[in-house]
């Protein structure tokens, strides 16, 4: 019920954000330097061939017209043909999505499985203990390790020394899920380091924030045992800022995937997007970036709904996202 009060407004703002993003993407892609036809057809092509190509992609129309056409088709799931492969963009992206989704999913799993317990430990021991300081330093180092440095390091170590996992072969999870997971293990770990650290930090801060709340003091005063308070009161309350962080992490994983996929040669959406950008594969860039933003917008929408379920006080007015 409560959800119904703010969900329509939240949905509307999500749609506005997506529309805004689509305009931005379209504008950015159209202002990429270099003549698209010349790039695609190469220097040996003649003007006639170029003009023909421009026409076949509707580039001869006015920009607003092109945008509306694109948006209209996109709404129907038609993102056009990839200039590079001549295949429907949607198929191209769809075939790479499982890889990126699995990569991001594995990283998210690691993030939650390590980051939250680490943060809870650091938070509940913040007033005492060296363990907390260690957790804090570890998490600060974690957010300071760019994945391209860490990734290269891992590739170096695993290709230089025989450490059991291959960084040369990639098995797609769609052909063999088990081997796919194994070949994504290292990339997912590298991708998750920042997120684990960020989650641990946020969880720690959230836990500390909850611990000073009077209702925790009241629980302590009632003589509740530590574990009981953490389980029943701290975790639930601390979950709220952690949930909002999850939206940011989703975006981060999507972005980080670009680099990690590149470093580990994982054929996912991220590395495909960079390639597409290099060769000005307009349709792919447009659809790919829009997809990335849409995933983020939908994820944050879902997370807002989840937050609404965890925190009954949440309303449409409250929509800050922590970093």
């Amino acid at each position: 019920m409560r959800l119904l009060h703010w969900l329509p407004g939240r949905l509307l703002s999500a749609i506005i954000v997506l529309l805004g993003a689509s305009i931005l993407i379209f504008a950015a892609v159209r202002s990429l330097p270099g003549d698209f036809a010349q790039i695609v057809l190469g220097p040996l092509s003649n003007e006639e061939q170029r003009e023909q190509l421009r026409q076949s992609f509707g580039f001869d129309r006015s920009l607003p017209e092109q945008y509306l056409l694109w948006l209209g088709n996109a709404a129907r799931g038609d993102f056009g043909l990839s200039l590079a492969s001549q295949q429907p963009v949607l198929d191209e992206l769809a075939s790479r999505l499982p890889v990126t989704a699995l990569l991001a999913g594995m990283a998210m799993l690691v993030t939650i499985a390590i980051g939250i317990p680490l943060g809870v430990y650091a938070g509940t021991h913040a007033s005492t203990g060296r363990g907390s300081a260690a957790a804090r330093i570890v998490s600060t180092i974690g957010i300071s390790f760019p994945e391209f440095v860490l990734g290269c390091l891992v590739v170096f170590l695993f290709s230089r020394f025989d450490l059991g996992l291959s960084v040369g072969a990639f098995t797609s999870p769609t052909t063999d899920f088990g081997r796919g997971v194994v070949s994504l293990l290292l990339p997912a770990l590298v991708l998750s380091v920042f997120c684990v650290a960020a989650t641990a930090r946020t969880t720690r801060d959230a836990v500390i924030g909850v611990l000073v709340e009077p209702h925790i003091a009241a629980s302590v005063a009632r003589g509740e045992p530590k574990g009981f308070i953490i389980r029943h009161h701290v975790l639930r309350n601390a979950l709220i800022p952690v949930l909002t962080l999850t939206a940011t992490i989703t975006a981060y994983l999507l972005g980080g995937a670009v680099i990690v996929e590149r470093v580990f040669n994982v054929p996912g959406i991220g590395s495909y997007l960079v390639l597409a950008l290099d060769r000005r594969d307009y349709t792919v860039i447009q659809a790919g970036v829009l997809l990335a933003t849409a995933v983020f917008v939908i994820a944050s929408l879902l997370i807002d709904v989840l937050t609404g379920l965890v925190d009954p006080r949440v309303s449409v007015a409250k929509k800050g996202r922590g970093a």
Partner: protein, 542 residues
């Protein structure tokens, strides 16, 4: 303050530790170029009973505006991959001599008339036997496209079916490189009947007479091929299927060859030779190539010092090819004139006029031109590492002569816009790139003929004499006469110095000796690293 230094110190110590334990023997580059047979870096052991999947890793995929259509395929990578499915009338061997392909033999009736006798067992992968009409139609279809390769075919006047398995090609003028042009994948023999009636779409399908047919292609990811059941040489094939992985990152390809995920890997970083030293099963060979790096010295901007031919020539002369090759290609690049040095009849790069100039003469030349302290802008692209490195070395080499070079390294698209865009003159003084060198010494020089290569107009003025030399070189039959023309052509290009050939662009192939026995030629004209794939033998079930 007290705490900061240990951190820095620790860093240095860590570095020493790591460098200490990775000291490896120096490069084995010389071995890599060693031939096991004349013209070959590796020869497949045909006695091996072989079957299985051939797994190769490539650095990038074919990207063509017309999809899989071989006629408009622009890059060597496309030729290589499409070459698995298509065949050409003639083939080119390790000595750049022509051998039978789909044509069992041919007669050069006159310098302007060639008669091809086709083999009778060629069958397209859809099961239909190849006919003379297919050959005639394929050449005509290629000519229709107006593509770069249709220009390389030369002045074809007519193609006629003159017998059951006989096709006659007539030229309007002599053109020595005709066979060279017919030997490359864009001139592949297509199932013309199906193409014309629309049952085969060349953009999305490959229906050729070649050994393999593609079963799957994920752009930038992988290709799968299986045997063409109708292939005429099926019995001799040692490979059941081909898996190509596209792996842009060199480190990953390196890892793949180390752990055996790949049997055969292409590198374009010459240092890969050294990087695999620790893996004894991996053999690394350095394949010489007719492709070469060149610099554009833009002559079309009247405000640029490069508008003066003396300055261009001086800049050309100031570039030390040997050092350039040592620093950027681990010494594997060979200095070359406009006729690629590894092709028969090519001019001697040592004899080029620019190479005869001493440092003093270069300085004087610049002084005469009033260009003692000049600044030139250089642009090149970043999807490969070599052009950027070349640019940086050139910058250092020109510095002692008072020539300051401002380097701008941009993405490929921006580079294209700078030199082939719509402006009157290209947006930079100097450009660095490479050309494919093809299979005949006169083919690439077409790009120096301003009548034939319109795309150079924004940085090259050319001259009627030069254009004529290009035409002469293409018309004269191979032999001493043409060699002399090529030498003149090389000198003219060198002195005009608008597009200056620098050095060849070698390829590096690594293969797993324990998994595969390949045949690899020492010299390649079309970048086809699978040229002898039908001879390859697999050592273990793959």
């Amino acid at each position: 303050m007290r705490h900061a230094f240990p951190l820095i110190g620790g860093l240095a110590a860590a570095t020493l530790l790591l460098t200490g334990c990775t000291g490896e023997p120096a490069g084995n580059g010389d071995d890599a170029a060693a031939e096991v047979a004349p013209g070959f870096l590796a020869v497949a052991d045909e006695s091996i009973a072989s079957s299985g999947t051939f797994r190769a890793y490539l650095d990038y995929d074919t990207v063509e505006p017309n999809g899989l259509d071989p006629r408009t395929a622009d890059t060597a990578r496309s030729w290589t991959i499409m070459g698995l499915a298509y065949e050409t009338l003639v083939n080119i061997d390790e000595n750049f001599e022509f051998t039978p392909g789909l044509a069992e033999s041919w007669d050069e009736v006159s310098p302007t008339e060639y008669v091809f006798h086709l083999r009778d067992d060629a069958v397209f992968s859809n099961g239909r036997p190849m006919t003379a009409e297919d050959v005639k139609g394929s050449i005509e279809l290629l000519l229709e496209t107006g593509s770069a390769w249709s220009l390389q075919l030369g002045p074809i006047e007519s193609v006629e079916v003159t017998g059951d398995l006989e096709v006659t090609v007539k030229l309007s003028a002599p053109y020595t490189a005709l066979l060279g042009a017919l030997a490359n994948t864009p001139a592949a023999i297509l199932p013309v009947q199906e193409v014309r009636d629309g049952t085969v779409d060349l953009k999305t399908e490959m229906v050729g007479t070649g050994p393999f047919v593609p079963t799957a292609h994920v752009q930038d990811e992988s290709w799968s091929f299986e045997q063409n059941p109708h292939y005429h040489g099926l019995d001799e094939l040692g490979i059941d299927a081909v898996e190509l992985e596209i792996v842009p990152d060199e480190a990953n390809r390196l890892a793949a060859i180390r752990d055996g995920s790949a049997q055969y890997v292409f590198f374009n970083n010459a240092d890969a030779l050294d990087l695999l030293a620790g893996t004894p099963e991996a053999k690394v060979v350095n394949q010489q190539n007719t492709d070469f790096y060149y610099v554009i010295l833009n002559s079309t901007n009247p405000d640029s010092p490069l508008a003066d031919e003396r300055v261009r020539f001086a800049v050309n002369a100031a570039i030390d090819r040997a050092q350039l090759s040592d620093l950027t290609l681990a010494g594997h690049g060979l200095a070359t004139g406009v006729s690629p040095v590894s092709l028969p009849g090519a001019c001697d790069p040592e004899e080029l006029p620019s190479q005869q100039l001493s440092d003093e003469e270069i300085t004087k030349l610049l002084a005469d031109a009033g260009a003692e302290n000049i600044t030139l802008s250089l642009q090149t692209w970043n999807s490969e590492s070599a052009p950027g490195k070349i640019a940086q070395v050139i910058q250092q080499q020109l510095e002692p002569f008072g020539v300051t070079v401002d380097i701008e390294i941009v993405d490929d698209a921006t580079y294209g816009a700078t030199f082939y865009g719509s402006d009157e003159t290209a947006g930079a003084d100097i450009g660095v790139s490479w050309y494919a060198g093809y299979g005949d010494a006169a083919m690439v020089s077409r790009w120096w003929n301003t009548d034939q290569a319109g795309f150079t107009a924004r940085f090259m003025q050319g001259s009627p004499e030069l254009n004529q030399l290009v035409v002469d070189a293409s018309e004269e039959p191979a032999g001493e006469g043409r060699d002399a023309t090529l030498t003149k052509l090389c000198a003219a290009v060198d002195e005009g110095a608008e597009q200056v050939p620098l050095m060849t662009r070698p390829g590096v192939i690594a293969y797993r000796d324990d998994l595969i026995s390949p045949t690899i030629n020492s010299n390649e004209g079309y970048g086809d690293i699978f040229r002898y794939v039908t001879d390859f033998r697999l050592k273990s079930e793959g």
